[in-house]
């Protein structure tokens, strides 16, 4: 009996052990199978859709619609997505194509650099040999950038240059082209109604040199400078409703009416600026840019310590202080200033300068009142530590492709 009970006990124990073992075995199998599944997922063998193996050109097309946080999240998702780079030039219709690039000429020996501040990426673009060996381009300065074209002058010549199609469009000679205080043009130089306006400023006179597309001669219009208007040269004039608005040094604005009878008038100093003590001595740079219903003027003091925005409402010519840009971003440079709608929430209400902190771009946030580097968490109240690009070789450029332009010749006539 004892033996039997012992046997029975052993059986029970054995069966219990079996149970435990069985449990363990099932657990083991479950974990291993789980890991198999896990591994399979890792290698993307699950289902027919295999996003991690998309071709790189598709991944970069997707990436061109993502910025900052989103793009770094995208890259961190899996290994094959990690090495994806944004395409340049950006594909049409992508969010990237709506943004301006900072173009830096002579950034490298055989071409130019394009910097995209929102992705903090730099692209090198090679220019063709004909363009590089061209003497005109070597010592020319960028005067204005608009519609994807650059208006450049140097060595007594003035010409348009398109860095994307690599076309040079030479204007009729005017030997004092280098002495133009500022230049502007009304529409893309390939369109028939393009008007180029150069301004020569003197204490007693102010002269406008104008040429229309197709003309072989410049026309000159001189006005008395009775009001001692001092033209501010660092910001290109802005065209608005057929009138050319030129910024003066003291914060006053000169208006050239381009209708049949040319007329020149000066709008007096804006009061908010006069209320700013010692403004004339402090203000180092000002920029003017089109915005809806008028002109936005940005005043920047020495070392960019203070940034101030003032809007000129055009029909009633009234000045108005601006505290916020709303859903817009501002890009400032000597050659072009642009007001662009933000593509992502975090980017709105910021002003991008053509300065660098190491490799990183720099913006001024109107929310914090400070300068920040795009990447790297550096912030400062002044632009002292940021390297500024030489103004005559860099400008913001809208990446607009001239689709109508099919001719392949590099040099074209006006």
């Amino acid at each position: 009996m004892l033996v039997v009970t012992r046997m029975a006990d052993e059986q029970v124990v054995a069966s219990k052990q079996k149970e435990i073992l069985g449990h363990e075995v099932s657990m083991m199998t479950s974990t291993s199978s789980d890991h198999l599944v896990h591994d399979k997922i890792k290698h993307g063998e699950r289902g027919s859709s295999n996003w991690s193996d998309l071709p790189p050109e598709l991944l970069s097309m997707i990436l061109s619609n993502l910025f900052l946080g989103d793009s770094s999240n995208f890259r961190a998702t899996c290994r094959s997505w990690q090495s994806t780079t944004t395409p340049f030039p950006p594909p049409t219709n992508s969010a990237l194509s709506k943004l301006p690039y900072l173009m830096i000429l002579n950034g490298s020996d055989d071409g130019c650099k394009f910097f995209q501040p929102l992705c903090n990426e730099t692209y090198h673009d090679k220019l063709s040999n004909i363009i590089i060996s061209n003497d005109q381009l070597k010592d020319a300065k960028i005067r204005v950038s608009k519609y994807g074209w650059l208006l450049m002058s140097g060595g007594g010549t003035i010409f348009f240059f398109n860095p994307f199609t690599e076309v040079i469009l030479k204007l009729p000679n005017i030997y004092w082209a280098n002495d133009f205080m500022s230049v502007s043009f009304s529409s893309p130089p390939t369109s028939s109604d393009c008007l180029v306006i150069g301004i020569c400023w003197g204490f007693l006179h102010i002269e406008f040199c104008i040429i229309k597309r197709g003309d072989d001669r410049w026309t000159f219009h001189e006005f008395q400078n009775n009001r001692r208007f001092v033209l501010y040269d660092a910001s290109p004039p802005v065209l608005y409703n057929g009138k050319l608005y030129c910024l003066g040094n003291g914060g006053d604005v000169g208006v050239l009416d381009l209708s049949s009878s040319l007329s020149w008038s000066i709008i007096c100093c804006c009061k908010p600026i006069l209320a700013w003590p010692r403004f004339k001595y402090q203000c180092k740079k000002c920029f003017m840019v089109n915005c809806d219903g008028g002109m936005l003027v940005v005043f920047v003091t020495h070392e960019e310590r203070r940034v101030r925005l003032i809007k000129l409402n055009v029909p009633d010519m009234e000045w108005q202080d601006v505290q916020t840009l709303g859903n817009k971003m501002l890009f400032l440079s000597h050659g072009a200033s642009l007001l662009v709608e933000a593509v992502k929430e975090g980017m709105a209400n910021k002003i991008y300068f053509p300065n660098f902190h190491g490799e990183n771009g720099v913006f001024y946030s109107l929310d914090t009142g400070k300068y920040h580097s795009v990447v790297g968490n550096y912030s400062s109240t002044t632009l002292f530590n940021f390297v500024e690009q030489v103004s005559s070789t860099c400008t913001w450029i809208e990446t607009i492709y001239d689709d109508n332009h099919t001719t392949t010749s590099v040099f074209q006539d006006w």
Partner: protein, 155 residues
């Protein structure tokens, strides 16, 4: 088959053998097919390998709409695009590879934009779950059980 049909219509055969009769203007929105037609290496039927009937039907629907509504307002087309690309993961993947393979630029743009919209504002973990098939439950449970298994005392 009449000659007029031959001139203006093309027959596309999907990978699973189904045939679609499509006007040529619609079919040549795919650059790959356009090249085939221009090189005259296409006979009456053009095989479209790697694309099954379901996806091919979708691509054709998209191209037809874009072809018809050239004159229509762009905003209408945009809403159509956004509705069209708003699909499940699998269909989206098949569409995007089909569009890339057949080189349909408009469709590719719309799809890539849609994928980007899906990624925007999501954490890495969510992107993994959504696109790479990781499942939160699986990751958690497998790690959990694995940890228990490793931490056991074997005496």
């Amino acid at each position: 088959m009449s000659s007029s049909l031959e001139k203006n219509m093309l027959i596309l055969r999907s990978s699973d053998g189904e045939e679609f009769i499509v006007p040529e203007v619609v079919a040549v929105m795919s650059k790959a097919i356009k090249n085939m037609v221009e090189d005259e290496c296409a006979s009456n039927t053009i095989p479209v390998p790697n694309v099954d009937a379901n996806i091919l039907a979708m691509v054709i629907e998209f191209c037809k709409k874009h072809d018809e509504s050239e004159a229509e307002a762009a905003s209408d087309l945009k809403t159509f695009d956004s509705e069209f690309v708003n699909r499940g993961q699998e269909a989206l993947y098949d569409l995007i590879t089909a569009a890339n393979f057949r080189d349909v630029k408009e469709l590719l743009d719309a799809l890539c934009q849609n994928v980007a919209e899906m990624i925007k504002g999501k954490s890495v973990h969510h992107i993994r779950i959504q696109f790479l098939g990781y499942q939160l439950f699986e990751i958690l449970t497998s790690n959990f059980i694995w940890n228990i298994w490793c931490d056991r005392d074997f005496d």
